[in-house]
Symmetry: C3
Subunit: 217 residues, 3 copies
């Protein structure tokens, strides 16, 4: 069995879309958007990573987002879940980071698998998986003017996605595990790393800080 | 007659390009850009929505922007119009919002029509139409660091584009009106809704505001 | 010989990627990012312009970034060079602007040449070249929240790229110079204009500044 002989179930993609749509909707609630702005921020967050993957890197001739209505329903479900949760949330940043963590690993695995299918080599597939995973949150943070989680100094965010993508490739290509099991393991690992990072505020060191310039606040 | 049996005249696309190019040029004047920055902000604003439509969603194999020189002339015309207007403008934000409103409906209809032509279902076509319409303004606001009009809490912006797109689909698919007439009606409706919104400062309510967090200023 | 009968050596593209990756890495060091954020900012800066060119404008069916591993190695080399340089740099903005200038002309020529190859007319090819050249820096500045160099009022940035692209087209199409020589001349010219601009702080005048609004700070 080669790495591209399998298809991940679509609910990996849908699950990640749901999680990121929910973080987008929560970010919109936090900023006091109305229902339309909320829906479109949820949409951009939910499918942003997949759009970057399909349009910039894989160059798919069509995007499932538009041909498969399930994606819109899933975004709507994420909106509803966020609105139900919204009034009970007092620490938005932490809750958003945790839900974000759920989608991060799933998108990393799905991005890797789609890239392998498209004929990319494993290192390139890992890169696309990481961009797929980090893309939705990046779009969300850019649109709302937050400093992107992706680049926030010292947080294991992209590193967690990278770990998930590499683990998935290793389990599927080297150990020849079935794709779904490998993706579940890699997604769980990514989630745990993110939860521990957020809980214990694990931080990496900035690179070569200059004396002249303090680290960005 | 099916919804995709017709072509909207290209001046719907060109007209929207002109309007958004002009808003981009005005935003550049407001911020004190020089003539080159002004041209490129006008270009990004004018064709941003169409580029998002063609590159991310419809995946057209080529983009009219580059094969049809009319788009560049129209952007240049928008720049000239903005420079003629610029020194007489004292309330940039309102004037930009009104000219923006002219392009909003035209782009919504054109985006819907191009999507129907590309074989998308009506709901997906409406979504692409809205993104087409809102995309240019979003790009303009992101590039200049303004909070995007798209998401500004409580303004009927995306909602107006959505109304225009849905009206256009309804008139063309259900009532079987000729495409151009349907687009004119839908564009006018969108413009009126925006003008009324800006004039009377109609506002929608934010979703589930938390006590802990005031709405974004 | 027609304008599209030649191929520029790939090291024009790779050289520009290296230069922009290095500016991205330096910007990341300046802001105190960790090693992963640094790599991804370098990646986005290095290949951002090429991705915009291939995905939005030329619609290439695949992107060399993923099929040719040389691009990743070059980004990594840019990261290493930036880290070696980083602790000795005290005036980041100026150093970044100079390295940026090296990539600017090379990307302008390469973008023009790829566009001519893809069958675009000369004016459209010049436009794509300029966007190719300015795109990486634009992506870098947007991601780090700096006001984009592209639009910074009064700096000859896009104008320098435009000069390089037009010079390249003129040398190749009118004077029928060999492509590589034309590109070297055009890149050198672009670099010199940028160096002089930064050194002497040459500034253009803002367009029609209004009394009511001071130029953006």
């Amino acid at each position: 069995m080669t790495a591209s002989d399998f298809q991940l179930p679509i609910w990996f993609d849908l699950g990640a879309t749901f999680a990121f749509a929910m973080t987008g909707a929560l970010a919109a609630i936090k900023r006091g958007y109305d229902v339309v702005g909320l829906f479109f921020l949820a949409l951009a967050s939910g499918i942003g990573g997949g759009l970057l993957r399909d349009a910039l890197f894989i160059r798919a001739s069509s995007t499932a987002l538009l041909t498969n209505p399930a994606y819109i329903y899933v975004v709507l479900a994420g909106v509803v879940a966020a609105m139900a949760l919204g009034s009970h949330v007092h620490r938005f940043r932490r809750v958003i980071a945790l839900i974000d963590a759920l989608g991060l690993g799933a998108y990393a695995c799905f991005g890797v698998q789609k890239s392998l299918h498209a004929g990319l080599a494993a290192p390139a597939a890992v890169l696309v998986g990481v961009i797929n995973a980090a893309g939705g949150g990046l779009v969300r943070d850019l649109l709302t003017g937050e400093e992107p989680l992706v680049f926030r100094p010292g947080q294991f965010y992209v590193l967690a996605a990278l770990l998930g993508a590499v683990t998935f490739v290793f389990l599927v290509v080297q150990l020849q595990l079935p794709g779904t099991m490998a993706a579940l393991l890699a997604t769980t690992l990514t989630f745990l790393v993110r939860v521990l990072t957020v809980s214990f505020n694990w931080r990496t060191a900035p690179i070569a800080p200059t004396d002249a310039l303090p680290p960005a606040p």
